[in-house]
Symmetry: C2
Subunit: 456 residues, 2 copies
């Protein structure tokens, strides 16, 4: 007999995952390794160790170990804001008149406002363990920088954040939260680094981009004693840490015998999507269960749906290793009228390989439709969603509406990655009718793709 | 044998309170009734019914019924964001090196960002039930207006908000959230109402005040067909709805045999404090248990600690009934450099009576000390607190530090009423060293108290 399913499922402390799950262990086709841009050989642990913390390099390179035990200090920190609730969207279902059952895993109930904290505390922990003084990073919409500054404050590490200039100017509040947690925040591109000065010379007045801020943060880390660089998405290690989202969701669903037919996540660099789907995708890869996975990306930055699967630089300044991924070219910078995050030119190599191998679908959606969905969700479910998360909301609503038409009672799970408290200028422009849908032309994309590095 | 106490206690759905608790039923000295400013006679249900919804008037006047069943529709809405967690502040305890056990009931995990939603949905529900078109209200820091707009969107009611002008200008984001939920927001004083025009004439360039916004909202309600006025604090009915905070906290604490020695809440109009302490105070009034209760108010608006217990107008425009309460005079307007809410000149009649009868203590704290405590709390516990809530944090930390000095293992419970996402200008001014401590002089207070209405 089925147990009564609560409206919101919170795991008990003893039910919470004690290990992260490494999806790569179950992939037949492993993601391509990061390669050295000079030699085109796979990056060694030693080479990566100059940029990243040692334990994180080990996680990055390990395609075989299925489970990594979560250190107790990180579990202690997780207890402050985890488990996150798995919520049944009864009100949204009612508003849509759909027979579909919609669930969302809500990661916004912490001060950083998003799932980014799951990896921030892990990366800060390993930096501290290695005896470092601090870490550098970049941030776009500011969720990652906020999360990292919280984690560093907790552990007593210094935190230097390069913030994409357009966000630095449009999101002073994010900056102030980071400052509350003691981080230093620099608008990027800046005159502080060689690569920043070079980019400013080539593109005076640029709004900046994630790729460019990454270049600056990496340069700062490798040129400063006792510092390493940390990254909030794309990397294998980040997806490993974010698996906690999917693990919690799966434990909760298994407990109540709920089987999701469709699992949906927004996709920028892939950290949320990769974490959410991990244990479900593991079952699919092992042939134990089947699920439909949908990656949702913005029409203004469509790496899966219009990019190329190729080796490319992770950053604009071309100082980072090359990763094999779906990419729009490291030179691609989405229009500044694009709201929120998800503006990265590339995509997680793990997710890229899975998409390439046909395990996952991808769609892109224009931003005014995303905000329409966001507003309906807010009014029905009470939560003001982040623009990033609202891409997943839009896709989940569309699937639920299809169910209304076909009468199918599908179960849909989507990742609600964060809250929109710091995105109210974007909501304002939507309410005022000033928001437009920027969609790059084929020529725009061909132009940036033409600069891909040549790798055999 | 004691059960293991989780880090965060979430009640199960079946454990959640199904009724609100009316503290007045257990008070020997009942709070004084609202009186008609013209006749000085107690306001009748009929008189109040012109301003408030009928069911809410019944709740307002009922000093005897101990429990009011929560209607199913409200329980359904509560499920969207309740239960709120009762959190053990392990990290803060460690940072303070105190043997005290600190718990907080966190009400900020909803889009309105505070506990105000508990009463907003109740008041909107009764308005809807009465077949009204909409409601009017005022908002200061914006938490109440946001909460009400969410509740009205959910029920399909129109919502007109008069927002204290200084907050309207300093908090455009709050305004935008209300707009997301479909509310109309007018800066107060405005030219839309007679009382607004009168106040603007007398005080051109005024920053506005809660009392003044109340006057406008009341005038709008009584002069518009199908509308009533709703209020987010002070009133008996609001404390009744907010008892859900204390009831949940008490159920959770009883479940794990935790007995709080000290219960602390910030106090503006008293909605959070009154709700948090309700079931505990009930036990104290009935002689079943003892607790120390501490109300914490800002030094810039100290109605308990420096006000007078007397009948006064609830609003600046003197259109509302008179309430017997601790008051600084309805003419008192705290300095605009005072951050956040808690800027109301009076205090809940229920709490005023209890304070007058010696059941509760009150202290006032200056705002720079409050922000120092807020920042330490954020860095330890991960949550960015609202300035209002941080008054309680400051007092709880001080009590915990006393325990460090005496070695006592006291158990402290405080109300963390909301998040500070929309208060980052205040945090910025604190970080920049621009924040000052405004404390009214004795003459300031004597001047506004001299205008109290004469009531026998």
């Amino acid at each position: 007999m089925a147990k009564t399913i609560p409206y919101k499922i919170y795991l008990e402390e003893q039910e919470m995952p004690k290990s992260w799950y490494n999806l790569r262990a179950d992939m037949k086709n492993k993601p391509a390794p990061l390669i050295n841009p000079g030699t085109h050989q796979p990056m060694t642990a030693e080479e990566l160790g100059g940029v990243f913390c040692a334990d994180l390099v080990a996680q990055e390179l390990d395609n075989d170990t299925r489970e990594f035990e979560i250190p107790q200090e990180i579990l202690d920190f997780y207890r402050m804001y985890r488990p996150s609730p798995l919520v049944r969207a009864y009100c949204l279902e009612k508003a849509l008149g759909t027979p579909a059952k919609i669930y969302y895993k809500f990661e916004g109930n912490n001060t950083s406002g998003s799932h980014k904290l799951n990896s921030a505390i892990a990366q800060a922990y390993y930096a501290k363990k290695q005896g470092l003084k601090g870490v550098t990073t970049e941030t776009g919409a500011g969720q990652w920088g906020t999360a990292l500054s919280m984690a560093c404050a907790y552990l007593g590490l210094d935190c230097k954040v390069y913030m994409v200039k357009v966000s630095y100017e449009q999101k002073p509040f994010r900056r102030e939260v980071m400052r509350t947690y003691g981080a230093s925040v620099t608008p990027s591109p800046s005159m502080e680094t060689e690569v920043g000065r070079r980019i400013l010379e080539a593109h005076p007045g640029t709004n900046g981009s994630l790729g460019c801020a990454i270049s600056e943060a990496v340069e700062k880390a490798v040129s400063t004693e006792g510092y390493r660089y940390v990254l909030g998405s794309v990397l294998n290690q980040v997806l490993l840490h974010q698996s906690v989202i999917g693990l919690e969701a799966k434990i909760a669903m298994d407990k109540y015998d709920i089987h999701p037919d469709i699992i949906i996540g927004c996709a920028g660099g892939g950290s949320n999507l990769g974490g959410l789907i991990a244990p479900f995708m593991g079952e699919k890869l092992r042939g134990e269960a089947d699920y439909r996975f949908i990656a949702v990306e913005p029409a203004s930055c469509p790496s899966f749906t219009r990019g190329k699967y190729a080796f490319d630089f992770c950053d604009t300044g071309m100082v980072c290793p090359l990763a094999k991924m779906y990419t729009l070219g490291s030179d691609f910078i989405p229009s500044p009228n694009h709201a929120g995050g998800l503006r990265y030119h590339g995509m997680s190599p793990v997710l890229s390989q899975l998409y390439h191998d046909g395990y996952m679908e991808a769609i892109s959606v224009p931003q005014t439709e995303v905000f329409t969905a966001a507003e309906q969700f807010a009014r029905s479910e009470g939560i003001l969603p982040a623009p990033e998360s609202s891409h997943a909301i839009k896709a989940a609503m569309d699937e639920a509406i299809k169910c209304r038409e076909t009468g199918e009672e599908k179960t849909i799970l989507f990742g609600l990655t964060g809250t929109g408290y710091f995105d109210l200028y974007a909501y304002e422009s939507f309410h005022d009718g000033r928001m437009t849908d920027y969609i790059p032309t084929d020529e725009d994309i061909a132009r940036s793709l033409s600069k891909l590095p040549k790798v055999d």
